[in-house]
């Protein structure tokens, strides 16, 4: 029993230490984001890898989400004779919840895992040590471009997801179920305000910070992992952990932001 309690205590301390390392890592990068030299080309490259290459999957996923929302809500709203409110509900759901959350989860799976594995392998192969030994700051050289690119990309991708999702809802309700196009659009214009757009924007920026901090941070502190294994096994483990940790943190943060901002 005492052994179990002490094990639990050790795990708790390890978890606190781990979160501390990740937080320090994040603040280190944030501090260096605003000091020269600025690597525009590296940011553009990351922008392409994280953002441009994710557009197709984001469009496909958000179109599906919009279609499903429109389809499900139509049958519910039809019972109460309020199908003209479909545009409002689909748009609000996409802008404040579905858009930021779905987009972030997709980016974690597509780019977050890749960033974590990339940095993890660099740690494991001593490439980060090599940078240090060449007097090149790995935070500035590697992390800052990824942070800038993710922080700029995620809100843009969320905006694309919102528009495509609303369009998906439009197809489901107007094209498939003959809801009047005007009532769909009018209810959307009438109910979506700046406050809702702000919620979406704040969420997308905070989620972007979570994605890039957890993904790159987990790879960066691979060598501090208490389980000790470096190499392929260590990289695969931290990548899995990064995906799970970032996803759960985003869902939790989504609740907190919604609770404070609604």
């Amino acid at each position: 029993m005492i052994n179990a309690v002490s094990q639990l205590g050790i795990r708790f301390i390890d978890a606190c230490e781990h979160i501390g390392h990740l937080t320090l890592f994040m603040f280190n990068v944030l501090r260096k984001m605003f000091s020269p030299p600025f690597r525009y080309r590296a940011v553009l490259k990351e922008f392409y890898l994280i953002g441009a290459k994710s557009v197709f999957v984001i469009v496909l996923a958000s179109l599906t989400v919009g279609l499903v929302l429109g389809l499900r809500l139509y049958f519910e709203f039809e019972q109460f004779g309020v199908t003209e409110r479909l545009g409002s509900v689909v748009a609000l759901s996409m802008i404040t919840e579905m858009g930021p959350v779905f987009t972030s989860l997709l980016i974690i799976g597509r780019s977050g895992s890749a960033m974590c594995a990339e940095i993890g392998i660099m740690r494991s192969d001593e490439q980060l040590d090599a940078l240090e030994c060449m007097a090149i700051d790995p935070y500035k050289f590697l992390m800052v471009p990824k942070f800038w690119a993710t922080l700029m990309t995620v809100p843009l991708l969320v905006a694309i997801a919102d528009v495509v999702g609303i369009f998906g809802g439009y197809i489901a309700s107007v094209v498939m179920f003959d809801v009047a196009s005007g009532s769909y659009l009018q209810s959307m214009y009438g109910s979506v305000g700046w406050h809702d757009l702000n919620i979406g924007l704040v969420k997308s920026i905070i989620f972007a910070l979570i994605i890039v901090s957890v993904s790159t941070g987990k790879g960066f502190i691979l060598h501090l992992d208490k389980k000790g294994s470096y190499g392929a096994e260590g990289v695969s483990r931290v990548t899995t952990q990064a995906v799970v940790m970032a996803s759960v943190t985003i869902l939790f943060a989504d609740y907190l932001i919604s609770a404070f901002m609604v």
């Binding site: 660099m122 192969d125 001593e126 490439q127 040590d129 090599a130 240090e132 030994c133 060449m134 007097a135």
Partner: protein
């Protein structure tokens, strides 16, 4: 502690020393990785740090590079106290040293010439053509001309090591660290690398620290050798001094003898039984 060190006149030592390691110890929890290490590296010499696997060579290298902090002790490299230096001071020092890592540590997304020219691009204001010319000169020196555009994944083990060496010397450092130059290479390529190290020493007048467990390579290139065992310096001296050392551990290493006699099956069983009896509450032997 068994310890032998060649004596030098203090003044000469002071002027000529590029690395001075004093009472260096590194512990990981209860385990001693390095224990009271003392040695120095003189200007223009090749110092080989040898030892069997797990003797603390890599930890010593990482500590000298300022990548790991020691538990106690001092490391002075070219006048900089590595253990107490600020990040900026360390970066300034690192611009005048080169490091070639065991696995090369080349960046997989950069071509060979991009890898080699990276320090120049980061630390100088030279135009891109001059950087390319200088990088090609170093690649030529390492017999890698014509492979500029290849990616690290397309290079052989020996080419990776030579590329890492080219990158390490691109800034013409005063001091070069080379971790396991011949590990994983066939004897011919390993001998080639040894030649490159000797060329660098004579042509560029570098002080070179080589970490290795390859005896032949060490004897070929070393001016002085430091032998580590279980985190302690067993001997530090010239090649001849090391060869003539009477210490059993040194002779075992030089003659490639296992440090412990092979146990007979009965003796081994006896050891196992005693170990198990010592820990009756556990179902397995941890030793």
């Amino acid at each position: 502690m068994h310890f032998e060190m060649s004596l030098m006149e203090p003044d000469l030592q002071l002027n000529n020393t590029v690395i001075n390691v004093v009472n260096l110890s590194t512990h990981y929890r209860d385990r001693k990785i390095l224990d009271n290490i003392n040695f120095d590296v003189r200007r223009g010499e090749v110092m080989v740090i040898m030892g069997s696997s797990g003797s603390g060579k890599s930890t010593l290298l990482r500590t000298m590079l300022g990548l790991t902090m020691p538990t106690e002790g001092e490391i002075n490299i070219m006048g900089v106290d590595v253990c107490n230096a600020s990040r900026n001071e360390l970066y300034k020092l690192r611009r005048s040293i080169g490091v070639a890592f065991q696995g090369g540590a080349l960046f997989g997304n950069l071509s060979l010439i991009e890898n080699v020219s990276l320090p120049l691009l980061e630390h100088t204001n030279l135009d891109i053509n001059t950087v390319k010319i200088m990088s090609r000169m170093k690649l030529d020196m390492m017999n890698l001309s014509g492979f500029d555009s290849l990616m690290p994944a397309e290079l052989s083990g020996g080419m990776v090591k030579r590329a890492a060496l080219a990158r390490a010397v691109i800034m013409d450092p005063e001091l070069l660290f080379f971790d396991e130059p011949s590990a994983g290479l066939d004897p011919v390529v390993a001998a080639e690398l040894d030649e490159y190290i000797l060329e660098l020493k004579s042509a560029l007048d570098m002080s070179i620290v080589v970490i290795t467990h390859e005896l032949e390579s060490a004897l070929r290139i070393a001016d002085r050798i430091t032998i580590l065992d279980k985190g302690e310096v067993v001997v530090c001296g010239s090649v001849e001094e090391v060869k003539q050392s009477k210490l059993e551990k040194v002779q075992n290493l030089l003659n490639r003898r296992p440090s412990r006699e092979q146990l007979s099956p009965d003796e081994y069983l006896d050891v196992l039984t005693r170990a198990q009896a010592a820990k009756p509450h556990r179902g397995h032997i941890n030793d």
